[in-house]
């Protein structure tokens, strides 16, 4: 990033840079920067969103400001913004250019003016001299001050059970919450892969799978009564992603469908508030706003919230809390204790949570410790379907040339397969130098390169007479300058790309005419 600041705020363009389009990677930052012309009002409304009741003394806007600070800024930007939080200014004052530059040693390469302006965090104003001054925008400033001076870490008060009506069901345990989320997502992925006897997901999820191109109508059954939907290349890519990325894709596609600013604000505030919750804690439904209550069924479909009808409390799941990571909540804010580190390194217990732990051997055997049929389906995307063993808690499969090439035809890349295998490495080999043996990695790359060894492109052949060697040389040079020369043979043949063929022929005609005029000969060229 350039060290010099952009022009003052009044001259900044109203739209975002073209590189950030709706089709780019759906991260939280990209979504906020893609709000376009609605961004300033939306961001201001998000930051200054008031507290819905006296029982929630911390306004949700302050949690949103904290989320933006913690997740979307790098370390240097966070420190500089927090330095500025403690300061007060009048309307026409701020930190001068000289003082701001003195804060940095060397170039300000870690400071992104555009990003901070897009997120409505800072404002850059011209001063009376020819320089500028910078300060925090007041909605962000006041909400961040509120967050830092507050002792309340939760977006909703943890009301004692005596103040709530009795719940029809007992509160879920941590394992039950994890199993609940896992079941929802396993069901979705099973349906995506086409596992037999899988229950169809609810209509919200179905619509998402179809609208985002993860599933498409089978060409054979299109238009008939027995129309079938099957997974696409995008769907295979989706299956190999991390659960958090998958959930965010769902949420992002839902956000794209929202038209009104108020519904966008409401959804974003609920998402950021959920990320500040503590796992396995129940929060009163009565403290939610009306708009948040209407969002509850959709978030339940995505596995973000657990609640039963009639229950006075809802429980955020681990997916909801880690969807926008980095909150101050105690569940994910601090370093692991010695005992939890030990438990992370111990062998997984399959009876509690179906986890996937993979060991890849040098003889291309994949040993997967899992008992989930979904994991079997995922591994069969690139392992041999005809030669594998299913034991009570272990799958033994093989990576073969045919199975891997079959996966390439489906649109899966070598990097995705390696990333998937590395991500699910067994804890015992997590600290090893190579989680996947070098020979296996190299062979997968070689198999992938076989797909691109031959590259076909449409070309045009131009023939030259024996005496037209000079013209041939000039035409070849002309084509090379434009990056369109493919081949130049000895027998008076020049092969160029089809896109520039017309221009090459015209150039040849002109050169031949000039050459013949120089030679004093007749104009008897052949036109192709």
């Amino acid at each position: 990033m350039a060290s010099s600041p952009p022009p003052p705020a009044t001259d900044l363009p109203p739209t975002l840079p073209a590189s950030f389009s709706a089709s780019s990677s759906p991260s939280f930052l990209h979504y906020l920067r893609n709000l376009g012309s609605k961004a300033p009002k939306t961001m201001a409304a998000l930051y200054s969103s008031p507290s819905p009741s006296t029982l929630s003394p911390q306004p949700p806007g302050s949690f949103f400001a904290l989320t933006v600070l913690t997740n979307l800024l790098n370390e240097i930007e966070r420190c500089v913004v927090l330095r500025m939080v403690a300061l007060e200014w009048t309307e026409d004052s701020g930190i001068t250019e000289r003082d701001f530059n003195s804060w940095f040693i060397g170039s300000k390469k870690d400071w992104d003016w555009e990003k901070l302006n897009d997120l409505c965090i800072i404002s850059l104003n011209p001063s009376r001299s020819s320089s500028w001054f910078v300060k925090l925008r007041s909605p962000f400033h006041s909400s961040l001050r509120s967050a830092l001076t507050s002792t309340q870490k939760h977006p909703w008060s943890l009301l004692p059970s005596a103040q709530l009506k009795p719940s029809p069901t007992p509160p879920p345990t941590l394992n039950e919450l994890n199993a609940y989320t896992q079941n929802i997502w396993n069901g979705i992925l099973h349906y995506l892969v086409g596992t037999k006897n899988t229950q169809e997901p609810n209509p919200t999820v179905l619509r998402f799978l179809r609208e985002t191109g993860l599933m498409d109508v089978d060409a054979k059954t299109a238009g008939t009564k027995r129309e079938k939907w099957e997974i696409t290349k995008k769907g295979y890519d989706f299956m190999l992603k991390d659960v958090s990325e998958q959930v965010w894709s769902f949420v992002f596609s839902y956000l794209q469908t929202l038209q009104s600013t108020s519904s966008i604000i409401s959804t974003l505030l609920l998402l950021t508030s959920l990320s500040h919750c503590t796992l396995s804690e129940g929060y009163p439904v009565s403290l939610l706003t009306k708009s948040h209550k209407t969002l509850m069924p959709k978030f339940k479909d995505f596995g973000l919230i657990y609640y039963t009808s009639g229950s006075p409390k809802f429980y955020p799941t681990s997916i909801a809390i880690s969807l926008i990571p980095g909150s101050l909540s105690s569940s994910c804010g601090h370093l692991p204790s010695p005992t939890s580190v030990h438990s992370l390194l111990s062998l997984p217990d399959q009876t509690k949570n179906p986890t996937l732990n993979i060991i890849v051997q040098t003889n291309f055997t994949v040993v997967a410790y899992t008992s989930s049929p979904l994991h079997l389906s995922m591994l069969l995307l690139f392992c041999d379907k005809d030669d594998y063993m299913v034991l009570p808690n272990v799958l033994v499969m093989k990576l073969t040339r045919d199975s891997v090439k079959e996966s390439f035809k489906r649109g899966i890349k070598c990097s995705q397969i390696l990333k998937f295998l590395k991500k699910h490495s067994h804890p015992l080999i997590v600290d090893a130098d190579y989680r996947i043996p070098e020979n296996v990695q190299s062979q997968l790359h070689l198999w992938e390169k076989e797909e691109v060894r031959i590259k076909c492109s449409l070309a045009f052949k131009i023939y030259f007479e024996e005496e037209e060697k000079e013209v041939e040389r000039d035409v070849a040079g002309w084509a090379e300058e434009r990056g369109g020369l493919i081949f130049r043979g000895k027998g008076g043949v020049v092969v160029v790309k089809y896109e520039i063929a017309e221009g090459a022929v015209r150039f040849k005609k002109r050169r031949v005419r000039e050459w013949r005029e120089e030679e004093g000969g007749e104009d008897d060229m052949i036109v192709y």
């Binding site: 904290l66 600070l69 913690t70 997740n71 370390e75 240097i76 966070r78 420190c79 500089v80 927090l82 330095r83 939080v85 403690a86 300061l87 003195s102 804060w103 940095f104 040693i105 060397g106 870690d110 967050a147 830092l148 001076t149 507050s150 002792t151 990571p325 980095g326 909150s327 101050l328 105690s330 804010g333 601090h334 370093l335 692991p336 010695p338 580190v341 600290d431």
Partner: protein, 329 residues
């Protein structure tokens, strides 16, 4: 990279400072800062900002008086105000016994002549506790544990012996192993001293400094004014402590610069930046280090002295026999 910070807060001189607090004509404080009114609220904001700036972080707060060291807060549990008030009351009562029941309210009565109540005798114990806890935490949580740290320590020692850069700063961060595992823990200690130096603990504090340095822990220090007199002496011990470990030492410019949000501003501006980012973001502090030592005989601060050529003890007068090792000088 994960960050940990341990704050060592000195309560020893609170009674003395409470007696010397002044207010202006509008009833506002003019300094020095009081623990429960100014320092603790500023620390709360600072700790919230620290957690916001470092998503994967851990903090703990250790309070020390002249006779006691106690952990009064940590991540996830908040600050235990009751424990701090108990320690303050305990300290005030001991100060009363020392001074025959002097008043402890914010009266404008003159302070008693006993200098002991303005001296921070518990700082070295607090810093020792902090270094030991960090060392034990790092041994348990870094990959490979104690064996790995010992191996890295030996590598760093051999590197420094061969004339390379100071290997201690590379202990945690710059090894390929640490980078690839991406779970490096950077530790800091922030010492907040509210009284004057106690020279008899000079050796203890220097030992803490070298232990912290070998553990790769950076020690920052903030010295608060003990009275309304802005010509109070700077702490040479703290400046040397921070210089050895590569930390920052600062004193607010005036006693009034500790109250009404000024202390919060100092903490957020100077001490929020992590060690690894201080080569990018300037900490905005220029403090010179006072390299005065301590006489091993009298305990006085000296800048010129006589050194034993065997054990390197420093004395302010020439001796025939070294008092530390007994050798003939």
């Amino acid at each position: 990279m994960s960050q940990t910070i341990t704050i060592v807060l000195d309560l020893a001189a609170e009674a003395h400072r409470a007696r010397l607090s002044t207010v202006d004509s509008k009833g506002r404080f003019k300094g020095p800062a009081l623990i429960h009114l100014h320092v603790i609220p500023s620390l709360k904001v600072f700790l919230n900002a620290f957690e916001a700036a470092n998503p994967s972080s851990y903090w703990s707060l250790i309070c020390c008086t002249n006779t006691k060291v106690e952990t009064v807060g940590r991540t996830g549990e908040g600050i235990d105000l009751d424990a701090i008030m108990r320690m303050l009351d305990d300290r005030v009562k001991k100060a009363e016994v020392e001074e025959d029941a002097a008043p402890t309210t914010l009266a404008s009565s003159e302070p008693k002549a006993n200098p002991n109540i303005s001296i921070s005798k518990g700082i070295s114990a607090g810093v020792t506790t902090a270094v030991c806890r960090i060392n034990s935490y790092l041994n348990k949580n870094l990959p490979g544990g104690l064996a790995n740290r010992k191996r890295k320590h030996e590598t760093a020692l051999s590197a420094s012996a061969s004339g390379a850069d100071d290997g201690f700063t590379n202990l945690h961060k710059n090894s390929d192993e640490a980078k690839s595992q991406n779970n490096v823990i950077e530790s800091r200690i922030l010492v907040i001293q509210t009284g004057e130096d106690w020279m008899p603990h000079y050796n203890n504090l220097m030992n803490c400094a070298f232990a912290a340095k070998s553990a790769g822990v950076c020690v920052d220090a903030l010295q608060l004014f003990c009275s309304s007199d802005k010509n109070e002496e700077r702490s040479s011990m703290l400046s040397q402590l921070t210089h050895i470990t590569g930390g920052l030492f600062m004193r607010p410019p005036t006693p009034a610069g500790q109250v009404h949000g000024a202390l919060t501003q100092i903490l957020l501006t100077v001490y929020l930046v992590n060690k690894s980012s201080r080569n990018v973001l300037s900490p905005v502090v220029v403090e010179t280090v006072e390299f005065k030592g301590r006489c091993y005989e009298t305990g006085n601060k000296i800048d010129i002295g006589f050194v034993c050529n065997l054990c390197l003890s420093v004395f302010e007068r020439k001796l025939d026999t070294c008092l530390t090792c007994g050798s003939k000088v």
